[in-house]
Amino acid sequence: MSISSTTSSIRASAWREQFAYIGYQVRHHPLVLIGLVIVVGWVLVALFAPFLAPKEPLAQNVTDRLQPPGSRGYVWGTDELGRDIYSRVLYGARITIPAGLAVITIGSVIGVLVGAIAGYVGGIWDEVLMRITELFMAFPTIILAMAVTAALGPDIRNAIIALVIVWWPNYARLLRGIVLEIKNNEYIEAARSAGAGGSYILFRTILPNSVAPAVVLMTLDIGNAILTFAGLSFLGLGPDPTSPEWGRMVAIGIDFFGQWWMWLFPGLAIASLVMAFNFIGDGVRDIFDPRLR
């Protein structure tokens, strides 16, 4: 064989090894598999909701209100305005999942940057940034969310903004802690003595190593974000009343507690997603944490 083909086959086998390793890990962490299946399942539902939903999520039919599951062709029953719960849950995935992802993604980007800079640069910048971070952490969530919503209006977008403001400090703290630990690590010393500059070290060494813990936190937090949307809806701060967002549906549903299908189905949807992300997060930590191998 030629040299180049040997090299490429070695590189190819390196990739195969990576995948084999990941596959091995997943097989030995069945909860992660379950979690992944559920999440992928919901993402597919969100993508194909228009094809899967038998009825329009906003279509009201007052004469058919509060129908139990199975009657008059409503698979999961209807709500207080006669809308099909099944269709609303399917469409709701298109709002709830991206909203949760948005909060976590934006929050973590901001938080990671702030935390990494604080940890790496250190000194007075560290203290100042950390005080600002603590400021946002200390502030009562409800009041912050209320102020944002009252100022901007109840809308899913504003709820996302409110939650981003509340969420990013967690990532800042996490990243700072990681960066501090890594900073004193030997291979940073090695890189520096080899002539590597500050930003090189930051971006090529520290950040990639911070990704794993951050990702763990992110996956666990998506569930929390979704639950917080539900809480905001309960208080009247969430998305607009017609929205099939799951949290909204549950919040309204408990006023119709006896009509269990109104709150149980969206509640189970939320719960399944939260649990799935929890399993994934736990598993990701177990897989990637070098100390646990």
């Binding site: 005080r131 200390a138 939320i270 399993f279 100390r291």
Partner: protein, 339 residues
């Protein structure tokens, strides 16, 4: 570094933080678009310029924002948080009335959460990846996967209305008068007054909401305990202890657990602060007259002295709790002492 230096350093940096909190609270309270005049003066009075002007003067609304803030700050330092526009009581009185209820609930919840969470976490870590591990983790996760107000209502309907195992909404049965006020915590107050029946009643009302809130805390604590304990169990000194022939149980309890608890302590600090205001959801369902519900009402009725007062209070408690946690770190984590 010595303990004194450590405390001093932490303290110095807490002061600007507290100031910052007052500024943010002020901005928040004024960010809401509606004019508090219209929210709190009756229609009749709105037509009378004199009354409007008197209202503005009384609440300091006629001065520029910076001056308003400085006046507020000055009063705050003197211990005067102003008067709630809605309840017309001094904010401190309102806090004295509503805060104890939430503290009682939060404390019981944390205790339950710790007990449950640490147990599950330890079990999970020690029998890692076994069926017990998976069951324990699944069970805990279920508790944190449903929105809390759903669990609350389900719990209330099943365990109170249908089974009659626990008491219903409120801190006491409504026909019972409160115990004589000393701390505002009904459990303590009834003990101090020797009213044992009221103690029991208060406890039976605390059971359900604190278990529900506690299960949320338990979820987080279980996870942290598990990962932290696993980390510690893999460390050199544990291996050394094992190789010396120390009994496994002793290894865990004596050597590993204490160190594993460090991150848990952090979480307690954060969780307590979150519970204080996050409790608004539970307080709504259980008709619990606490500070969470008070904060929510203040926010919706633009009661800006109350908004500022509660924000500052909660934030200060959070900072205080974390300050204590930081000090605990000093004792728990030897690396700080030698820094």
């Amino acid at each position: 570094m010595s303990l004194q230096v450590y405390i001093l350093r932490r303290f110095l940096f807490v002061i600007p933080l507290l100031l910052g909190i007052t500024v943010v609270a002020f901005v928040i309270a004024n960010a809401v678009p509606a004019d508090p005049i219209n929210a709190n003066l009756p229609q009749n009075a709105l037509n009378d310029e004199r009354l409007v002007q008197a209202f503005r003067e009384k609440w300091g609304l006629d001065k520029p924002p910076v001056e308003q803030y400085l006046t507020y700050l000055g009063n705050l330092l003197r211990g005067d948080m102003g008067v709630s526009i809605k309840t017309r009581n001094p904010i401190l009185d309102d806090i004295r009335q509503f805060l104890p209820a939430t503290i009682e609930l939060a404390t019981f919840s944390i205790v339950i959460g710790l007990a449950l969470g640490i147990s599950v976490g330890v079990v999970s870590a020690v029998w890692k990846n076994s069926l017990i591990d998976y069951l324990a983790r699944t069970f805990v996760v279920i508790g944190v996967s449903f929105p809390v107000f759903v669990l609350a209502l389900v719990g209330l309907t099943v365990f109170h209305v249908q089974l009659g195992w626990v008491a219903g909404p409120g801190r006491l049965d409504f026909i019972i008068r409160n115990p004589p006020h000393v701390t505002g915590l009904f459990t303590i107050d009834s003990i101090l007054a020797g009213q044992w029946d009221k103690l029991g009643n208060a406890l039976s009302h605390l059971v359900l909401p604190s278990i529900i809130l506690g299960s949320y805390v338990a979820g987080i604590i279980a996870r942290i305990t598990r990962s932290s304990l696993l980390e510690v169990l893999g460390m050199d000194y544990v291996r050394t202890a094992r190789s010396k022939g120390v009994h496994e149980r002793r290894v865990i309890m004596r050597h590993a657990l204490a160190n594993a608890m460090i991150p848990v302590v952090t979480i307690i600090g954060i969780s307590y602060g979150n519970l204080l205001v996050g409790s608004v959801l539970i307080e709504s369902i259980f008709a619990w007259p606490g500070i969470g519900r008070y904060a929510f009402r203040a926010s919706t009725s633009q009661d800006f002295p109350a908004i500022m007062g509660v924000s500052i209070l909660i934030a200060f408690i959070y900072v205080a709790v974390n300050f204590i946690v930081d000090i605990l770190y000093y004792f728990l984590d030897p690396r700080i002492r030698v820094a």
